[in-house]
């Protein structure tokens, strides 16, 4: 039936054309295929598209030339003061950042004790692995370690029991951001689970309490809660009690995060089909058993991307502690601007801190996206 190869090559008419049905396969013309077609459709499809493209190219060109010039080509990387920088180049003065890098990371933590901060960062990474890596061998033991980690870190950072004591007033820089962020998430998770379960409880009083707590926490800004921590919380403990400001801040940040965490976990709980609850009931499991063995493992698993997103938001919000006078990485940058040697470098400082936050938050959000995709394939 199908014409053979030989037949096809022979089927040329005398005028040099082809007989019907015997034309050889040619590549599609470049007007419907290939880079030129792609550019025509995707960049110059219509008048508005063309205008948008030209505008975008212009914007890109001016932004890149300006930024490259300011950040790299005309920038000064070494020097002891702003005048040194200005003598070399009129762009950014990165010498300032390099000069104070240890301040940005450790704050005012005493220098001979800084290994403790490094060690607790390393241990933190080890503590995160079992939480995120499901197929880890001996995951149970790893998780037990992760639960113990906050205690270990608190001991390492604050001291006592054989280590020299470091006042929490000396915490600062990136370390303060990490301490607040990690504590907030670690402690808000259990509280958030309890609140989310309470919100769905059959007991009206429990439900009303949980709903009002969550809504109040979510209705006010974190900064007002930090103010509460700074000026109001010490009224609520017996007179004469010494109540550390960092602890007060951590309490308020944890309560704040748990309000948001509760909503994330509620989403996970609502995504569990009713059949799972009913099956657990049919097995004769009591409320807490069915939650612990059937519902929560599934609900928490699908809430992980939401939890990571909550963490990113909380991590960004840790910069707010500067309004009550604590110097986190942004606060250190802000207060270093007062140094007369380095005056007028606010843009460099802010851009350095911004880049730092961008890289850490962007990688976390990529991770949460990847996780969402991975979890999605199950359905």
């Amino acid at each position: 039936m199908t014409p053979g190869k030989e037949e096809k090559t022979l089927a040329v008419t005398e005028g040099g054309g082809y007989l019907p049905g015997t034309h050889p396969d040619l590549p599609p013309p470049s007007s419907v295929h290939g880079p030129i077609h792609w550019i025509r459709v995707n960049l110059f499809g219509s008048v508005t598209d063309t205008a948008l493209t030209l505008l975008a190219v212009y914007f890109l060109y001016s932004a890149i030339t300006f930024l490259a010039g300011w950040m790299f080509i005309n920038a000064a990387f070494t020097g002891e003061s702003r005048n040194d920088c200005r003598a070399v180049a009129d762009g950014a003065c990165w010498a300032f950042i390099g000069n104070r890098l240890s301040l940005f990371i450790y704050g005012f933590y005493p220098e001979p004790e800084r290994w403790r901060v490094d060690l607790s960062f390393v241990l933190l990474i080890l503590a995160i692995v079992p939480v995120l890596y499901e197929d880890m061998p001996q995951r149970g033991k790893g998780l037990a370690y992760s639960c113990l980690y906050p205690l270990i870190a608190a001991w390492l950072l604050v001291g006592g029991f054989g280590l020299e004591k470091v006042s929490t007033d000396q915490f600062g820089g990136l370390m303060l951001n990490v301490v607040i962020g990690v504590t907030g998430i670690a402690f808000s998770l259990p509280i958030g689970i309890v609140l989310a379960l309470g919100r769905q409880s059959q007991l009206p009083i429990v439900r009303i309490l949980c709903v009002s707590f969550i809504e109040i926490i979510r209705g006010v800004p974190l900064i007002t809660l930090l103010f509460v921590a700074a000026v109001m919380l010490s009224y609520f403990v017996p007179p004469g009690t010494d109540f550390d400001l960092l602890v007060r801040m951590l309490i308020m940040v944890t309560l704040f995060a748990s309000g948001y965490m509760a909503e994330v976990i509620r989403g996970g709980l609502q995504a569990i089909p009713n059949g799972q609850y009913e099956a657990a009931d049919a097995m004769g499991l009591k409320y807490w058993q069915s939650m612990r063995l059937v519902v929560l493992p599934q609900a928490l698993k699908i809430s992980i991307p939401g939890i990571v997103n909550t963490f990113i938001a909380l991590y960004k919000d840790t910069t707010l502690v500067i309004v009550i006078g604590r110097l986190d990485i942004l606060g250190i940058g802000n207060s270093s601007l007062a140094d007369t040697k380095w005056q007028g470098l606010s843009t460099e400082v802010y851009i350095f801190v911004a880049l730092f936050f961008f890289f850490s938050c962007f990688s976390m959000s990529r991770y949460s996206l990847w996780l969402e995709k991975k979890l999605h394939t199950g359905h």
């Binding site: 890109l60 209705g219 800004p221 007002t224 007179p239 843009t347």
Partner: protein, 403 residues
């Protein structure tokens, strides 16, 4: 199994089971017991902290009262929408703060919505370059703390922009300098009220016209260009009345004085920085919400609309956007709430909002920490409640009416 055996053994032995145990085993009574216990714990906790607070206040020699709101505030506020002097009361200062928060939240929400929708739509467009530039802007903006945005923009306005004498200017009437953005101040003449009346009349006419056009569309299928006609009425009618009443409007154009600009309305750098930073930060979240909302509309809806012969803009207007709005509105509400709450960061750059007035200077001056914080927290709760009530009402209006 064991429960049944247990009960049986109790019956066999004939001992009355413990009364409390029986209550605990009954589901209804158990729930009542649990709730009473919860309430008892809560009240015990509240009693404990209130007792502590009373003791602490007594030690410090303070009282709990809101009398201080009536005392003169004796500090200045750099931006005020209502009459305020340093002799005004703390209550008045609080009102100024509330209005300042409301002002920046209002403008921020409007700008963030417009920019957010624009970004979201460009992100979905076929134009590869534009969509990827917007993607980069979105990722950069949302992964950087909002406080940093505020400080950065404030720093740029205050340190990088020129002084008023060398201000950037547009047609010699709008000036941008390190003192802020100065625009001409309108002065309304006598007959201007007619224009205002015409404006509201135009809104009424538009609502009536839109209803009528929808009725006609449902009955006969005839579609009027409602948007363009409405825009025409909205601007045309007041403008016509304005001209007829003899153009009763003049402008006070700002002029360069010795050190500063004279006349005109000045948006102070703090307001500008807060407004721009909050709008930008919120708009990228809105852009993602809009994109997700439009992508959530299944392809079948597009194909079905094409099959009945609708054009692209008609498909968007009649099929896609009404459905996408339902997905968009709930997360949009929480973004509006976030913007309002984030406006409290104003204190970092010295914009006098609620936190900076009543929760800042007033609190420091009077030492009324408890009262001020309670006021601040309840004002923010009210803001949140008002915004969510409004958005819930809107959400209900556009909700899918299922038959």
């Amino acid at each position: 199994m064991s429960g049944v055996a247990n009960q049986a053994s109790i019956k066999l032995v004939g001992i009355e089971p413990n009364f409390l145990l029986r209550l605990w085993r009954n589901k209804d009574t158990r729930s009542i017991i649990l709730q009473i216990l919860t309430m008892a714990l809560l009240f015990a906790f509240l009693a404990y902290i209130i007792n502590n607070a009373v003791l602490n206040l007594a030690v410090l020699g303070k009282t709990f009262s809101f009398d201080f709101l009536g005392f003169p505030a004796s500090y200045d506020i750099n931006q005020r929408l209502i009459e305020y002097t340093s002799q005004s009361t703390h209550f008045r200062a609080m009102l100024v703060g509330i209005l300042n928060t409301a002002l920046v939240a209002f403008f921020g929400i409007i700008t963030a919505t417009i920019v957010g929708f624009l970004f979201g739509i460009i992100r979905l467009s076929n134009n590869w370059i534009a969509s990827h530039i917007v993607y980069c802007i979105i990722e950069f903006t949302r992964n950087i703390p909002v406080l940093l945005h505020i400080l950065l923009i404030h720093g740029i306005i205050v340190h990088v922009l020129p002084s008023p004498r060398q201000a950037h200017t547009l047609a010699d009437s709008i000036f941008l300098s390190n003192r802020g953005l100065t625009i001409p101040d309108p002065i309304f003449g006598e007959g201007f009220s007619f224009t205002v009346i015409a404006f509201f009349a135009a809104i009424g006419i538009i609502i009536g016209f839109a209803r009528w056009a929808r009725k006609v569309r449902d009955e006969s299928g005839k579609i009027y260009p409602v948007f363009w006609i409405s825009t025409g009425i909205l601007f045309g009618l007041p403008f016509l009345v304005f001209l007829l009443s003899g153009s009763p409007l003049s402008w006070v154009v700002p002029e360069l004085g010795r050190f500063n600009l004279k006349g005109g309305i000045t948006m102070i750098p703090e307001f500008l920085a807060l407004w721009l930073a909050l709008s930008l930060y919120t708009s990228v979240f809105i852009a993602e919400i809009v994109r997700a909302g439009i992508l959530a509309i299944s392809k079948g809806q597009w194909e079905a609309s094409q099959a009945v012969g609708l054009q692209r803009n008609r498909i968007l207007q009649l099929v896609v956007i009404p459905q996408a709005l339902r997905v968009i509105i709930p997360p949009l509400t929480s973004q509006y709430l976030n913007l309002t709450k984030n406006s409290s960061l104003a204190i970092a750059i010295g914009y006098m909002d609620i936190v900076a007035t009543i929760g800042g200077i007033s609190m420091m001056q009077t030492g009324k920490e408890m009262e001020s914080m309670i006021l601040v927290l309840s004002i923010y709760l009210c803001f949140s409640l008002v915004i969510s009530a409004f958005m819930n009402w809107y959400n209900k209006r556009i909700k899918l009416v299922e038959r």
